[in-house]
């Protein structure tokens, strides 16, 4: 398996002595779209920014297409197309001027590809960036990243401020581009429901640590959910059934019930949704928020 983005013992501590990332080990295979999920402060943005050399790791190392951004930032940047959290466009410039600016900054920038993507979305090239909607601005950011023809795309919560339709359109363009151009994408997001359709891998961060790193299909097939609010209480880490399954974490359901995420392939409870899978692992990553539970787990 060729790896496009990898971290080994990666840690980042800020001046306030807070570890944003700790002991991160991960390998993102080439050609995949990996969803990077976690709550605020989980370290998603820090990980992505480290990939383009905007953050310096405190420990360990990170390689983008085999390049360490700390050792050779120009080479790493050449291999990355980056879409920042906010669109970060120049409000004085038109869309066309953004394309020209990108071409002047990045040798080999494919202006025609960027224009084509924008025209397909009916984004007028002669409009100023500040006249466009948030969704259109995000699409410009993506079109510029795709125009770099970089093998690795790092997308730092580009969906955060988009409405559902704009999110779908954004992800459609991303999936289409990855499929046709062979990019590898790492997409951080809070919006779990949308990424299920677009991504093939899931990386969950919590408290700066990696909580889960699996293919989405594999993760869904290996996790189930049971309702533990009716006296069937679960304990994180407790064994489940007779095949070595265990309780990952307990989290609140949409109507106040208490749900337990189980790591098991046995037919207990019901299959977990992607959102429940993430919530269960995040709950496990934050044990201090769990109420002490005192009984065994239903098998």
């Amino acid at each position: 398996m060729a790896v496009a983005f990898e971290a080994h013992g990666l840690g980042k501590r800020y001046r306030r002595k807070v570890w944003a990332l700790r002991d991160i080990e991960l390998e993102v295979p080439e050609g995949s779209i990996t969803a990077l999920v976690g709550p605020n402060g989980a370290g998603k943005s820090t990980l992505i920014k480290a990939g383009i050399g905007f953050e310096r790791p405190t420990t360990g190392r990170l390689l983008v297409a085999g390049i360490d951004p700390q050792k050779d930032r120009p080479a790493a940047v050449r291999r990355v197309g980056y879409v920042p959290q906010a669109a970060s466009l120049y409000r004085e410039l038109t869309v066309e001027e953004h394309v020209r600016l990108a071409a002047s900054l990045r040798s080999g920038f494919d202006s025609e590809l960027a224009r084509l993507r924008l025209e397909q979305l009916d984004i007028p090239l002669d409009s100023r960036a500040d006249e466009l909607s948030g969704g259109q601005q995000a699409q410009i950011g993506l079109a510029l990243a795709l125009g770099t023809r970089a093998p690795v795309l790092l997308l730092d919560e580009p969906l955060a401020s988009l409405d559902p339709l704009a999110r779908r359109e954004f992800l459609h363009v991303l999936v289409d581009a990855v499929g046709s151009e062979g990019h590898t994408a790492l997409l951080s997001s809070h919006v779990i429901t949308d990424i299920e359709q677009a991504c093939d891998r899931l990386l969950v961060l919590g408290g700066g640590r990696k909580l889960l790193d699996l293919s989405i299909a594999g993760a869904l097939s290996e996790h189930r959910v049971i309702d533990v609010s009716g006296g069937m209480l679960g304990v994180a880490g407790a064994s489940v059934g007779g095949s070595g399954g265990r309780t990952i974490g307990v989290f609140p359901g949409p109507t106040g019930e208490r749900l337990a995420l189980l790591a098991t392939t046995e037919a207990v409870g019901r299959p977990a949704t992607l959102e429940e899978l993430v919530l269960g692992h995040l709950a496990a990553g934050r044990p201090s928020r769990l109420r002490p539970l005192d009984a065994g787990v239903a098998a």
């Binding site: 920014k49 383009i52 905007f54 953050e55 930032r73 120009p74 080479a75 940047v77 050449r78 990355v80 197309g81 980056y82 920042p84 906010a86 669109a87 970060s88 466009l89 120049y90 409000r91 004085e92 410039l93 001027e97 020209r100 600016l101 990108a102 071409a103 002047s104 900054l105 990045r106 920038f109 950011g141 510029l144 990243a145 770099t148």
Partner: protein, 313 residues
């Protein structure tokens, strides 16, 4: 650096750039206009006070009255000529990096540009060229107007209006540009950087002045106090003692006698002025301009180092 990159770079600061260029053109045109009006009077040098010691003729008085009226009318142009270079330096220098950091556009541009140095050069050099051209134009305009206002003075051999004309004025403005870019890059916020740049440059200006004066004091020549020429740059007063040695006036206690003589320690002494002769104006101004040029280079170099290391905001 492509023409497209230069055009886009200037477009990001088009309001400030247009304002500075337009104001500079007006000020330079004003300088040339008033200088031409003064020249057109053809006031004989003998008419100027002190030229001959004789009472000016009525024709001279009439010409001088008109001359001073025009000089007075053009006074506001001098404020523009002296102030605009500094305004150009600070107003165009601060936002180059600070505004990009403030608005988060560095996240886009630094992710696209493999070399932040190339990005910095593409952003800074076109704006620096505008500051340079505006400052040079204004400095030469000031030189021209000052020369027209003082036709009895050879401005190339005189410390008249030192620092407010010629290449030294332009060099000071470019130094302020370098300081402003650096402070904007460090702070990453335009308005605080603007204010701090003004304060910091005032300190730099004073520091250079003090350092240069210290050098000039070692190079000074002594002239009898009553023979100092207006074109010379006076540094300090001194006295020659009876034994031929010279002491600075501020180091000794003196007695002033009714006949105008000065005594120290019961003996008459000669009053001197330590001066830099006006003939050395070009060399002295050039040296100080070089110092400000160096400050500009250091400021831009330090800003580049900060850009290379800092987060994109």
């Amino acid at each position: 650096m492509t023409a497209s990159a230069i055009r886009l770079s200037l477009r990001l600061q088009r309001f400030e750039a247009f304002g500075i260029v337009a104001a500079s053109v007006v000020a330079i045109a004003g300088a040339l206009f008033f200088a031409a009006r003064l020249d057109a009077l053809h006031v004989p040098l003998s008419c100027f006070p002190g030229a001959s010691g004789a009472e000016p003729t009525s024709e001279c008085q009439s010409l001088l009255q008109r001359f001073y009226e025009i000089t007075e009318d053009g006074r506001f142009v001098l404020f523009g000529l002296a102030g605009l270079p500094f305004l150009a330096g600070v107003v165009l220098g601060v936002p180059i990096v600070a505004r990009e950091l403030e608005r988060g556009t560095t996240r886009l541009s630094w992710s696209l540009s493999p070399s932040r140095r190339a990005w910095f050069a593409a952003r800074t050099l076109p704006v620096l060229a505008i500051v340079f051209l505006a400052a040079i134009g204004l400095a030469l305009g000031a030189e021209r107007l000052f020369a027209a206002r003082s036709p009895d003075v050879d401005m190339s051999a005189s410390f008249y209006d030192y620092g407010f004309r010629g290449p030294l004025l332009a060099a000071r403005a470019i130094a302020l540009f370098g300081v402003a870019v650096l402070i904007g890059t460090i702070l990453g916020r335009a308005l605080p950087a603007l204010l701090l740049s003004v304060v910091a440059f005032a300190a730099v200006l004073s520091g250079v002045q003090v350092a240069h004066d210290a050098i000039l004091e070692r190079e000074a020549v002594y002239r009898p106090g009553d023979l100092v020429r207006p074109a010379d740059r006076g540094l300090f007063s001194a006295f020659r003692l009876a034994d031929g040695s010279v002491v600075r006036a501020d180091w000794v206690g003196v007695e002033y006698h009714d006949d105008g003589s000065v005594w120290i320690g019961g003996q008459p002494v000669e009053w001197l002025q330590a001066v830099i002769p006006g003939e050395r104006y070009g060399e002295v101004a050039g040296r100080e301009a070089a110092a400000f040029g160096l400050i500009a280079v250091l400021g831009l170099g330090a800003a580049l180092a900060v850009v290379d290391r800092r987060r994109p905001g």
